[in-house]
Symmetry: C2
Subunit: 215 residues, 2 copies
């Protein structure tokens, strides 16, 4: 079975909410999750779509909805000052880690999202991102070496490729979850993702039973 794709932007509250839910849900159905951070604004620009919520009327609504949705999902959350932060360093660091150790990358991603949405730390700062990388592994060297890596052309190109692949897959929001080719946009699609995963699991069980019967 293919892993579930989970696209998100590190500055997306709904993306943070999904990050706290998708792992356990996938696990219940024997599935794994591939985390795929993107820069949402860059992806939208490449798709020819306007940035989200730029209109004051929508921004007011969504700001209240972030808070309400966090309570509904029983998650710690507060809107960080200066929202939304720039997330290129956070996303580059993810792929730096992920290409070596996916488990460490996922732990790092949780630490970034929680630093931002629970502790209001400024995740646009490359120093903070490098510290959060160092909390997972020392294989990239000390703080200054990690910072140099995050500013390198290789790190930029890696993230650029990830965003291009997301755009190729028509990812136009955060969070954006793809289960066996079927896209789900928004944390409010969690119940429908659960239904899909259950249906796939049932179909698999049925076909297994069928096979046994044939024998």
């Amino acid at each position: 079975m293919r892993p579930i794709d989970f696209y998100f932007d590190f500055a997306s509250p709904y993306g943070y909410f999904m990050s706290e839910k998708i792992g356990a849900l996938a696990n219940q159905h024997g599935r794994s999750v591939t985390w795929r951070p993107i820069l949402l604004f860059a992806a939208l620009r490449l798709l020819g779509l306007p940035p989200p919520f730029e209109h004051p009327v929508k921004l007011d609504y969504i700001t209240a909805d972030f808070e309400r949705s966090a309570k509904f999902l029983n998650l710690d959350y507060r809107l960080p000052p200066g929202f939304p932060a720039l997330t290129q360093h956070a996303a580059r660091a993810f792929y730096l880690l992920n290409d070596q150790a996916p488990a460490a990358a996922m732990a790092y991603a949780h630490s970034v999202l929680r630093s931002y949405f629970r502790e209001a730390r400024d995740i646009s700062k490359v120093e903070l991102i490098a510290q959060l990388v160092l909390a997972q592994t020392e294989k990239f060297g000390k703080l200054s070496a990690v910072i140099d890596l995050l500013k390198s052309d290789a790190a930029k190109a890696r993230l650029h490729n990830a965003i291009s692949a997301a755009v190729e897959n028509k990812v136009f929001g955060s969070p954006f979850v793809v289960v066996d080719g079927e896209p789900f946009f928004g944390v409010d699609r969690l119940p429908q993702i659960a239904e899909k995963l259950a249906a796939v699991a049932r179909a698999r069980d049925d076909s297994t039973t069928g096979d046994k019967h044939d024998i």
Copy 2:
């Protein structure tokens, strides 16, 4: 207790889904619903917002999501040919009825939405709308008289005022539900609307109990 405001466009699939759910939910919590059809494209234009889903990538997603959401909510639905229909006659007729008999107006609104999303009838046609009005009441006269009314300046002005009021209340989508001043956009907010209604009902019960205790 104030009625719940339910804004929608007659050509909105998510609006149709909400129309099949909001009455029963409100009723469970002892609340009534005021139906407020609008022309979504006109409201968005007045707010300075782009029309929804005009980008092919989003349109593809949303078309699949309509179908999936209908199944999830256990509702009959198919995308009508020529979607989205123009809905000015449907909306004008609603207010014509509503100013005389709200119950008939609600029954009429259900009949329009079901004609469109279950039977793929063309609700942009003034003749069909007039027939659906006549199915509720004969007080406006025969078919040709109802059609004349629907094309009248008075009917246009009534709808125009309804849309202006919606824009004033920052209604930027369909469905858009307002409970005691709190806005909820989208049929996927149904669980949060249910939570809000339950919380209001609990607070009311607590204050009633408190009053009795004071006596």
